[in-house]
Amino acid sequence: MNGPALRARGLTKSYGKTPVLRGLNMNVPAGSVYGFLGVNGAGKTTTFGVLAGIIARHGGEFEFGGRLGLLPQDASLYPDRRLFRQLFFLGRLEGLDRGRACAAAESCLAAVGLADRARHKPPKLSHGMRRRLALAQALLGDPDVLLLDEPTAGLDPDQSARLRSLVAGWGGRKTVVVSSHLLSEVEQMCDQVGVIHGGKMIYEGPVEGLTGARDTVVYRFDRSPPPRLLEGLPGVREVRADGEEMTVRFEPGVCSLEDLNRRVLELCFTAGAGVREIVRGRGLEAGFLELLR
């Protein structure tokens, strides 16, 4: 990773007397796909709005390492213009000359699978298609940093999967900041994650840091395992049992995951307990909820 593509320091914003951002700091490494998480009302959309200049901030500063592209939440394009015309116009506003704006409009429509609808107007499109159109406008001018506010909201599973693979494909070339409530989606797409809570960043770092993929493994047994099955195993820091599930935190420097799995399987075999599933990490959702607690 190079330097940060987006750096924000001490962002503050209030609506009336209600503070929404309380000194938010943000560092997004260049080339990363960054998941921006938070509960409803945490300030995700406000943060995007402040960074894009849509919402006036009350304090703090930020800088981008390149051109910006934004997919805003709940915004619609002009209903009386054809799709191609809209993107051509926005491309011109990006500073592209007529020829390049034309080419950019065509390629962006193709990128989101709307090339065959170029002559349609937005009211003739489904909600998902309008969302894709909004994504297409964010891609105009080949931005270096993309802010995507709930990009898969309203998309069907097929389109969501396509979008995820599109975003994942940008990793390394573009910096993408994705806000989403679908934590499984974020886990698939992102390599970095930031969690905002109460207007402040409470976690920022690799996804593994929150999922515990480096030092946590979850075993699911076909019946409740003996309560002290893993007691005394070298390198095991913490064991938490919950019914047929057992979450184990270990020290990677002392014990590798392969060693731990082998030892656990041996113990299970001896104790007569069958292992149904081994999952690396506790999952983003569990990590996120634990962080909020």
Partner: protein, 279 residues
Amino acid sequence: MRSRFPILFCDHFVGGFRSRRSLVLAGTYLLGFLLVSSVVIKLHRVAGIPVGEALDLSERGAPIAGFLRSLAADEGSSGVVEFVLSTPAINLSLAVISLALLPLLIVVFRHDIPSREMEAGTLRFLVWRVKRFPLLLSRFLGGVAEIAVVTLGSFLLVLVYALIEIPGIPVFKVLASASVLWVRLLPYTAAAVALALFFSVLAARSRRALLYCCLGFFLLLFGTVFEAGAYLSPFSGRNLAGLFASAGSWPMWRSVLFYCGFAAAVYAAAQARFSRKDL
């Protein structure tokens, strides 16, 4: 960075025709004109006043002459009456109907610009690409240009109607006089567009903006009871005096300056509000 203003301006101007807003506006304006013009022409014929020529105020037109002279006395300008008297009657009716109709049309057709864009979130696609100043300026100047084109088109169509209706009308004289009227209406148009823009930005919601604009224009008309506000009233003698005063005269320049100053002040207020608006 190259200015995006020309792109924004052209888009807004052309967008008015694309969305048929300008065409409906022109149609309504023209309809009002035709109705009033036909009534004026009929009245002139009944009264025996020549429609195509300047007003003949010797006998039956004496009350009109009295009214105009009282305006001139208020204004302290002796050139006003002469200018009005030399203006073809049809153009006089055009001026009066313009002053009365324009604010209403602007309220109806432009109250939701840019509040509708704010409501729909359309502006969110623009403000991170361009600065807010040229964006709102394009809405203002684009609006003025739109109204100017619509009024010019309507003027010409009314004159064509007059040409058909009144054989032997002095075309060039009527046209020249109408052009002067049109040019002098521009600052008035700018003031009305700026006012609609300000209330639209203030309201940020389309329906609320309509209410604000209606109240705003009502207050303005009410304000014209007082001398300082008289220049924005379509029912004020000062206004007509400003419109018809001879070119280069103080009443004309005072009227132009007043409208332009008013438009600039209201636009600046709209810009100040818009620059801090959360979209």
